[in-house]
Symmetry: C2
DNA sequence: AATACCATACCGCGATCCCGGTATTTGCAT
DNA sequence: ATGCAAATACCGGGATCGCGGTATGGTATT
């Protein structure tokens, strides 16, 4: 999330694409836009990664998915490491849901179909540089559903305040004895609370409690 | 993710919106589309929730954010409980990032600005019923960045295959003894592996291991 | 006033875990 | 082939946990 601050500077883009024809055509297409400049093109992730190590980071990396050697999807994490400020747009021939989904999970900011028009390409790049993300409703839904699933099921087990407190310490890796000391109560009391927690969460060990708490985000 | 299977049926929509004028105008707008029917309108989440309890679930719920009583954002989780099959679209006046971000995290499938054109409204509803999600690049980026952050930092601690296997069972709540039985090795061996895991992860108990594994997604 | 629930405290036994060792076999790589 | 890392195995003592109890004072609700 670092939107371009000086829009007067041309946006620099690099292209990683093994097909020569397409690589050249997209370069032209980019250079036609006044605000965008194509810095360099590469035919593999490996080449691009080497070049990026001692050059200035481009604003945007256009990255093909199907590449010889390291795939575009794999490449994403590497690019993000060597050039964290660069935003990544995936180039695909088909609207391959799973690949694109993986890509955005890896940190891509958007994707473009290779059939995209010049305006689309430009708009997508600008969106992304402005701090946005470009993706189809279908991909968006996939991402959201995982998100919702992750943040939603905060089931309630009827834990009392004290029990939640104990649970919290427990998840933090504190032993019963130490919890007792911290809360100024007897260790027996901690055990009683713990027993009640076990019953409510239907588990039978600290491990299970911690696992369940973390998995269901009761922390 | 349950796309409408019989597109010949009209899509039923309900509207929850306190402003009478806007409520009526959006109802008209919806009923103008042949494929979409406005089932009912409500002026608060509370009213709508009561009505939904003994009525058929609508395909889509159009939900205003600013409502008297329960806000639209709060309402999302309730609607999802009483009518899990319904998809939720948020109505907003402004492009309020934080609210919309919260909304999608709660399980909304998209949002519409109140200034949206008739085509936009229709397209958004159709997108969402088709199993997609509708949101602006800016919101999409916010969601993605959280996602990337969540799936990225899979640190490596140099665990061996066997150690990862042990760790996996441990996180599943299996006791050392049982792990030994499952893997056809002695319990002593499990303990040795465990000691090595402790050293590598720099922890000192099963609890810590499980907590660390779940938190850093080493599972 | 009665009831219910919570937080607190205590006991003891058997199971499990933590950690300090040592040691052999296996497999991969130089 | 030689060496190193991983996987395997074993021991024992002290700490911790799991669970079966019982019990009492406080607070909130009815």
């Amino acid at each position: 999330m670092s939107p371009k601050t000086r829009p007067s500077d041309p946006i620099t883009v690099i292209v990683v694409e093994d097909d020569v024809l397409f690589r050249d055509s997209i370069r032209e297409l980019i250079d036609d836009s006044p605000a965008i400049r194509c810095g360099a093109t590469f035919e593999s992730c490996e080449d691009a990664l080497v070049a990026l190590q001692d050059e200035l980071a481009p604003d945007v990396i256009l990255l093909d998915v199907d590449l010889p050697g390291m795939s575009g999807i794999e490449g994403i994490s590497h690019f993000r490491r060597v050039s964290p400020a660069s935003r990544i747009i995936i180039l695909t021939v088909f609207d391959d849901d799973d690949k694109i989904f993986n890509a955005v999970c890896q940190g891509a900011s958007g994707y473009l179909q290779k059939s995209a028009s010049a305006e689309n390409v430009g708009a997508c790049i600008l969106d992304v540089v402005a701090g946005g993300a470009a993706m189809s409703p279908h991909i968006a839904a996939k991402v959201l559903s995982m998100f919702a699933q992750y943040s939603e099921p905060k089931k309630e087990y009827g834990l009392t305040i004290r029990e939640k407190e104990i649970l919290h310490h427990l998840v933090g890796g504190v032993s019963k004895k130490h919890i007792a000391e911290t809360l100024f109560i007897s260790q027996h009391t901690v055990e009683t609370h713990l027993k009640n927690i076990y019953a409510k969460l239907q588990v039978h060990s600290q491990i299970d409690v911690v696992a369940k708490a973390l998995r269901e985000h009761l922390i």
